[in-house]
Amino acid sequence: MGMITDSQFHVLAVDDSIIDRKLIERLLKTSSYQVTAVDSGNKALEFLGLLNEDEQTNSQVIQVNLIITDYCMPGMTGYDLLRKIKESASLKDIPVVIMSSENIPSRINRCLEEGAEEFFLKPVQLADVNKLKPHLMKGISKEIKEPNNINNKRKGLEEIDSADRTRTRLNDTIDINNDGLPDLEIV
């Protein structure tokens, strides 16, 4: 991806909550990362689209070394964004980390299987941000392969929320949940 200025990794943070954006930005800056924070998946893609253009013209102005995104966002969810990034030839090598306030194992699995490097439970802690370093390093040198530590990536997988947020699909058209799958169609 080209030369990076002295230990200045650039992280793109995506979250619709202004508070969480401020928090993650501050957390990332304590690790001396450069941060761009946007409030939606669309804005993130827009920003990354700029990245593409620069690559094509060989004048690298913006460079993103890692994307950290909230899962639950109106419109494009973090998962949708993850998929779009992994489907893009120019963007798929950028490590993506998902954040969520909800500890839903199936959600976590889905994201990891789709290629997310880590899944952080909110509120994100300094310790979580410290876990980003290896993924950022991986971005520079593609020969370094990380072992697939699925177990280490999940926090609190054993705690299944007793309020039971996982809904059974009663039939194909009904599914009330939080991850953007179609709700009940009422005409």
Binding site: R26, S101, K122, A163, I186
Partner: protein, 181 residues
Amino acid sequence: MERNQQLRRQLASMRQSLFDQGHLDEQFILLEELQDDANPNFVEEVVTLHYRDSARLITTIERALEKSPLDFNKLDGYMHQFKGSSTSIGAQKVKAESTQLENIARQEMEKAQLHLLELMHSFQVKTLSKNNNNLICMNPSRCMKTFQLLKRDYATLRRKLEAYFQLARQAGPNEIACRPK
């Protein structure tokens, strides 16, 4: 000098009682740790953002609760936002109450879901006309009660934090004295 020390002590005890009374949890400490000379007002900035967010959400939720029947899908969304915001600043009580409300909304949605299915089976229709009366709210008062608690605790926290930051400004920088063990 003497006065300043007094202020600092007052400040520390104010802060401690916020934790002791369960208004704040350890997330607030993380915010304090992120504050430094380069970001001297970080905590207050984040908390102020939370007030803005919360005030807006409370108004929206109030309006939503006045509707009949209740739109639990929307309520769930609002509570989720509220919970997220409170969690991020360590507002413990408010977080607990918004979680409760979120659960109530989800339980109600589940019941409505089941109810609709029963109707569909009994009338053998594939689609339903937009008839919100089919969504029967089992427990409107439960929602209201919890929401009133949430509003009350949010107001209390806000009042106490505003007093705290005001005192902090009087005491001058370095007001983040000791941390609870």
